[in-house]
Symmetry: C2
Subunit: 363 residues, 2 copies
């Protein structure tokens, strides 16, 4: 409905532009050719850097281009090359709003950086719900983009498969499961969580809980597993290591912390699978009169601004989010350039950043 109106108006507008005003029409390749005294093809070759052009012709064309201020029309070009020179970055807004937000900003920066020396443009698609997901596939089917970047995928997300069936290059930040078939890059969630668990053990904590994200996401499962591995290696008895499943939100973190304290009043450390949940957990701990880190140590994941601004400052697992963004972009560009290429599965290293919230027991 709206669409039709917009189109109708657009047409009217071009009409105005051409008739009313002095019509400062944009120069086309034809104009340039005439000005330079050569054929269209020669201009095209110069513009596209072909070396099948004599120096004289090249010079003439370049002069004409400069004089006329010619810029190639990318839409027309896209029509024949069947390339739009743009990719889509799809971000589920429901989750970005919930606090992992700096994560998405960092991904965007990484993507943008990787696109920098390319002629490729970035289309940002914020998806709110299922309905918009469907619109998205329609949009993608219009071939308005050459490839798609998907962030924060859930286990049974159908979108990656749909895109694959459309034959559209697709790369994920994160993965649906450890058996992910599409190209993707994710951080070493297992190793990161393990180092967090180990750190808590090493600082003398003996009853270490964890708060996980939704278990239909690989990040959540991997971080849970890493924590478990650390507990096992340290020989921690499972009854000292309670698990609460949450949803990556601050409120969820609070609720999970409440449940953990109810079940295991003696716990002296908690590893939250995200800084946002860690912030929620800290709120709840303080509300129940526990001191951080004296009574309970807290470790988060992401090393976002929250960790820096929290009080006490929050120990957290740093993941190279910006690098993930630039990596998946590079992989996508390769896949667009060579659709037959091997799928790439990359795991990027994490690093534990120790701050005040996990100072050793005794101190």
């Amino acid at each position: 409905m709206i669409w039709h109106n917009v189109l109708a108006n657009g047409v009217q507008w071009t009409g105005d532009e051409e008739n009313d005003m002095g019509a400062p029409q944009r120069p086309t390749i034809k104009t340039v050719a005439a000005r330079a005294g050569v054929g269209r093809t020669t201009v095209s070759r110069v513009v596209n850097g072909s070396d099948l052009v004599s120096d004289a012709a090249k010079a003439a064309v370049l002069a004409a281009i400069a004089e006329l201020n010619y810029v190639p029309n990318s839409v027309a070009r896209g029509l024949v090359t069947r390339r739009t020179n743009s990719i889509a970055l799809v971000i589920p807004e429901s989750e970005s709003r919930l606090g992992a937000e700096p994560y998405f900003s960092a991904v965007i920066r990484g993507v943008s950086a990787a696109l920098r020396d390319t002629r490729t443009q970035l289309q940002l698609v914020l998806v709110r719900d299922r309905e918009e997901r469907d619109q998205l596939t329609a949009h993608v089917a219009e071939r308005r983009v050459d490839g798609v970047l998907l962030v924060s995928v859930h286990q049974h997300d159908p979108l990656p498969d749909i895109l694959e069936n459309l034959g559209l290059p697709t790369v994920l930040a994160g993965r649906r499961s450890a058996e992910e078939s599409l190209s993707h890059a994710c951080s070493d969630n297992l190793g990161g969580a393990k180092s967090a668990g180990r750190h808590l053990v090493d600082s003398g904590r003996t009853a270490i809980a964890t708060i996980t994200g939704p278990l239909d996401m690989d990040v959540s499962r991997s971080r849970l597993q890493g924590w478990k591995d650390a507990m096992d290696e340290a020989g921690m008895p499972p009854e000292n290591c309670p698990v609460a499943t949450s949803d990556f939100t601050e409120e969820g973190g609070m609720a999970a912390m409440r449940s953990l304290l109810a079940r295991s009043p003696k716990l002296d450390a908690v590893f939250a699978a995200s800084d946002v949940m860690a912030a929620g957990a800290m709120l709840e701990l303080r509300r129940q009169g526990r001191r951080i880190p004296e009574d309970v140590a807290v470790v988060g994941f992401d090393d976002s601004y929250i960790a820096r601004y929290a009080h006490p400052s929050l120990t957290s697992v740093r993941q190279p989010v910006e690098e993930i963004g630039s990596t998946i972009t590079r992989v996508l560009l390769e896949e667009i350039a060579d659709p037959g290429s091997q799928r790439q599965k990359l795991v990027l290293p994490t690093e534990l950043i120790v701050r005040d919230s996990s100072s050793p027991c005794g101190s």
Copy 2:
């Protein structure tokens, strides 16, 4: 250079697609016309919602579209309609990185929300430096977008004028000066800063400093002026109200605070023109042994996450950033639809959110 490679590869790729595989060519309007037993134009009319089509023909076309899974090619359409149905959102990355970041996230959400029921796509352009600014104008001149949204403009920024001369609809978040000629929406910086100053006066503070942003930005000047107005109205002697100019960064906030304390050791309140600078100021205050809010009250601007997570929580002026995003988008869409329309200059209300960092003197 890279560009050429990409193009060459792209061509090769389409070749592969057509020859090697069974060529599952996308249906075109022609295919649909043949399938439905009508002419191309009739299909076009149905697709674009014209009512000059008989019911019978319409039904046949719709059936054919459904069978063939036809989706119009937006690139081809764009070539003739001279519309791309996409707009660009230009964000200076240098500044986004410096901490006002949640501001940009919120703007993006607002823009995306306003685009929701439109067929318009969002192109995100992160600009790092002057060189990229130039690339940008080239890109824009390619007519890959129908309009441009500009965020965080400085006083003598040439880009808005360039865009205007190109005849490309442009709307700003913020403005270059109070005399801004282009359409724009900004928050009531003057009023917001004034309410912050008044709040400090009302809580019994008597030596109230301010830390401003770069004075080549209207936001900075307006917030400074609002604070000055509040001081004047309260009859504060100017020597009790020192001003330090900074740059919207945390480090800048620290340095400014240091300078203020050196000049006016007795100050008991400071209004920072952004939360990030307020955070820096708080760090410096604490380092010098001043208690917040007992010794010095602090008020920020933005009401970002920093204000919520700071310790003590930070009183701050909330501005409707997401609303600014959706507003400028709506204005831009109107201007694209009707280029002759009146320029719109909108000021959105702010609200003071009182938290712990500015509790009254006595308490």
